[in-house]
């Protein structure tokens, strides 16, 4: 096996060498090379990719991009390489190199060209080489980054050419950095080496640190101090960044906790109902998102990026109505009997879970991220993922809206009146049963909203709610029962604390330490961070 591999590689090399000597510049045409893409081992095909790049054909970049994305297909009968579009069968085929339409082809008559990691890496480098002089600054940027990743000493000349032409400062910087990496990995003269060290040290991120550490071993004695200084600078900067990063991670975890707990802050905090089915409301909200997305995918695929906007009101209504039904059907008979409420809602949560499992199946359902919630952006060196970012914003909006409802609306006023003194409120003509139902519905509806957000970061499975119920109670009890601000501060405190513990203690121990902390805290302040004061508390 190894021997044949060896042989194949050498035959290949000899063939390439022969072609190069005989044919000179006109080695193999791009057309011929492209036709060889579907065949052979991954390493042979990686070789073909670099040959395609070496031809410098302007059409090659798009073709290679399509290859890496797995969009290239081979028509089995003719060996033609095509990209496909359209849905169903047959599909419209376009020649991948020329872009000419070749009409419709049956699905069965084409086969997708498979790619693996090493081939993708080869494509990335090849496309980088091809597009380094492209007209579009973004393309040049991507190319320069690919060159940086590759860090191949052979690219120095190519980069020199590109740097001479480059006008855009940002792209120029990345190109310089790419060139510096290439130089650090070659045996350049000490002066160039030292300049490259400076360029990389100025970049100042973790990758730069890694590159410098690797360079340290191969460097001359006289540049060693420069490298060591660069490493020390970067490490100092990174230590500071780590703190900022942990704060952000903590805030984003806190936002998730806040979302999960805020509905419970109403049903448990305000109404005093120990609602073990709260997590299941979150889960139902997530399933509503799934259904809405499915509907949109099937009927209005162009609206997919807006699917969450439709899912929010739908989830609020669905879970809110279920909440009202639960209150009217079960909980209203159990007011003042916390143990029975706990058992009844626990039972309900099991029923809802199994019902969902029977309806949708036990496996996870796929809820897609809209494009604006995928990926991340860089904030002074901290990678902030868009989905977490929007969830933080969303959690704060929900919190503000809820506060507004409680403080500024008639329903909110009545809710507060009923919780503070039920009999007095009733005597004033407030329909307390109606207010109870509405309050419970509101709490459940908000849990549904949390479900929409959580569907973006967690599994949509029947077990979704279980994972959040303990955390939710933790936040509400820690923050102080009956106080929304307490829930906010509690969620954020626990989130940040957890994230600062995690790097040192590990995820498992961090969670245990957090629970220990809460137990101790509750010993000291049984009513949580923001305890309610006054006679209402004793009632």
């Amino acid at each position: 096996m190894i021997f044949t591999d060896f042989l194949r590689r050498h035959v290949m090399m000899i063939a390439v060498a022969l072609l190069a000597t005989c044919g000179g510049a006109s080695a193999q045409s791009v057309e011929d090379l492209v036709r060889q893409l579907p065949k052979g081992s991954y390493s042979d095909r990686a070789e073909i990719v670099s040959q395609i790049a070496a031809t410098g054909d302007p059409r090659a970049a798009n073709l290679l991009d399509a290859l890496a994305a797995g969009e290239l297909n081979v028509v089995e009968a003719t060996g033609q390489i095509v990209t496909l579009s359209g849905r169903g069968d047959p599909l419209d085929a376009v020649d991948a190199l020329t872009g000419e339409s070749i009409g419709e082809v049956a699905k069965a008559s084409v086969e997708r060209i498979r790619v693996n990691n090493s081939l993708r890496r080869a494509v990335r480098t090849a496309v980088g080489q091809l597009t380094l002089m492209s007209g579009d600054a973004n393309t040049r940027m991507t190319a320069a980054r690919a060159m940086f990743q590759a860090g191949d000493p052979d690219n120095v000349e190519l980069l020199d050419e590109a740097i001479a032409e480059e006008q855009n400062a940002a792209v120029l910087q990345v190109m310089e950095e790419a060139r510096a990496v290439a130089i650090l990995r070659s045996d350049a003269e000490p002066a160039a080496f030292a300049a490259a060290v400076d360029t990389i040290a100025a970049r100042g991120d973790r990758q730069a640190l890694g590159i410098l550490q690797a360079a340290l071993s191969s460097a001359d004695a006289d540049v060693t101090p420069t490298i060591e200084k660069g490493i020390a600078d970067i490490q100092g900067r990174l230590a500071l960044l780590d703190v900022g990063q942990n704060v952000w991670y903590g805030v984003s975890l806190g936002a998730v906790l806040l979302l999960a707990a805020i509905g419970l802050a109403i049903t448990f905090g305000v109404m005093g109902v120990i609602n073990m089915a709260h997590g299941e409301m979150v889960m139902l909200g997530a399933y509503t998102t799934f259904l809405v997305q499915n509907f949109i995918r099937a009927s209005f695929p162009e609206l997919f990026d807006w699917s969450l906007a439709f899912a929010l009101p739908a989830a609020f209504l669905v879970t809110g109505l279920i909440g009202i039904a639960i209150e009217r059907g079960v909980i209203r008979f159990l007011y003042g009997r916390p143990l029975e409420t706990l058992l009844a809602t626990w039972g309900l949560s099991l029923i809802i879970q199994q019902a969902v499992r029977t309806t949708f199946g036990a496996s996870n359902r796929e809820v897609g991220n809209p494009s604006w919630m995928s990926g991340s952006f860089d904030f002074y060196g901290i990678a902030i993922t868009w989905n977490r970012f929007f969830i933080v914003i969303f959690a704060l909006i929900v919190f503000a809206a809820l506060l507004l409802v409680l403080k500024r609306t008639a329903l909110g006023l009545q809710m507060r009146a009923v919780t503070q003194n039920r009999r007095m409120a009733s005597s004033m003509g407030i329909r307390t049963p109606w207010v109870d139902a509405m309050t419970f519905g509101l709490g459940s509806g908000i849990a549904g909203l949390a479900g929409v957000a959580l569907s973006q970061i967690d599994n949509v499975s029947p077990n979704l709610g279980q994972g959040y119920i303990i955390d939710s109670f933790m936040v509400v009890v820690f923050g102080g029962v009956g106080n929304l601000w307490g829930t906010l501060v509690g969620a954020m405190t626990l989130g940040v604390l957890n994230k600062f513990l995690e790097p040192y203690a590990g995820a498992v121990l961090a969670k245990i330490l957090l629970l220990v902390f809460i137990i101790l805290f509750i010993q000291k302040r049984p009513r949580g961070l923001f305890a309610q004061k006054g006679r209402a508390v004793e009632a």
Partner: protein, 430 residues
Amino acid sequence: MRGIRQTLAAAVTSGLLMSAAAAQDEPIKVGVLHSLSGTMAISETTLKDVMLMLIEEQNKKGGLLGRQLEPVVIDIASDWPLAAEKAREMYEVNGVDAVFGCWTSVCRKSVLPVFEELNGLLFYPVQYEGEESQRNVFYTGASPNQQAIPAVDYLMEEEGVERWVLAGTDYVYPQTTNKILEAYLKDKGVAAEDIMINYTPFGHSDWQTIVSDIKAFGSSGKKTAVVSTINGDANVPFYRELGNQGVAAEDIPVVAFSVGEEELAGLDTAPLVGHLAAWNYFMSVDTPENAEFIETWHAFIGDEERVTNDPMEAHYIGFNMWVAAVEKAGSTEADAVIDAIVGVEVPNLTGGTAVMLPNHHITKPVLIGEIQDDGQFDVVWETEDLVPGDAWSDFLPESAVLEADWTDPVNCGNFNTETETCGGAQAAAN
């Protein structure tokens, strides 16, 4: 008085004889002991379905020993003490002859004493941490040397990986596997500072810190890979965070031992393309046996979208081995089957054959697949030969000297080759 006793004895004997005669026509009962509710339902429900399918197919072929097979399905609800109770119920109330079940190691460990006590048969279909061999259990999933070690070899040789993150869920399978892998890597000359081990709780959903740690660990200039024994649901948010934080498979590949087609079904796989999984079977394997299996499965379940996965193949192999052993022994009686099954060969779905070894593990090919954007795996590497399952890892000093052999004369699950003594439970009957 004596007369009465004799008549009674005669009546009892004839009753016994009659019931024995009746047993010839009664169906053979096959226990299916999987979680159909609770956390593990996500994985195990499919295995229950595949068992029902295999039993139905066998009945279409005329059953076994001229008798029909009858499935006895009991939900163990992801509750391990309950699993032990239900296993007992299967034998004592339902009278099953063999049980196919469990997913987690803790489930297997909980039911083990029951199978030993009642001398039952358990076919366990999931990859596990090894370090075990019991007379009454048949391990049809992979042991570490049939999954973890070849996967690490692939990354080391083909991708040139020098730095390793061993990430797992905090329980027995990942811990033991990581212990074996750590010993193996150090054996191969990997320095301690090039290995990072990380554990997370079950169902962990906030992976921000860990993914950024992995990024930091991987930016040292040496090629880095993640070996993931993260279990179940926690994988989805982990992969999502990887995708969102821009960890591409070309830079830091993740090879997973618990992520199969079924797990990917709940996931948009576009950002995951190129990450790896090591298994002994993939749905995408192109063999006539596999095509037939998938077709039967789709027809049985009535849904063309359903996927097949590795533990399903393990049940397929285990069931066929049991059938072959019963036919060979001419009886469903446990001792006869245990004697007959060692050496039994049945075809697997990847074009080879699986052999039951004396240590009650089987031979398997090892495949490395890359995740594709359609949620399937593309096989990029496979072992040339079948790998025999090793019950006791050769890379842990305390177990390197142990061997398992359930045939005469050894008949022991952990035979110490140095002291030539049997360390644990010996076959009581012998």
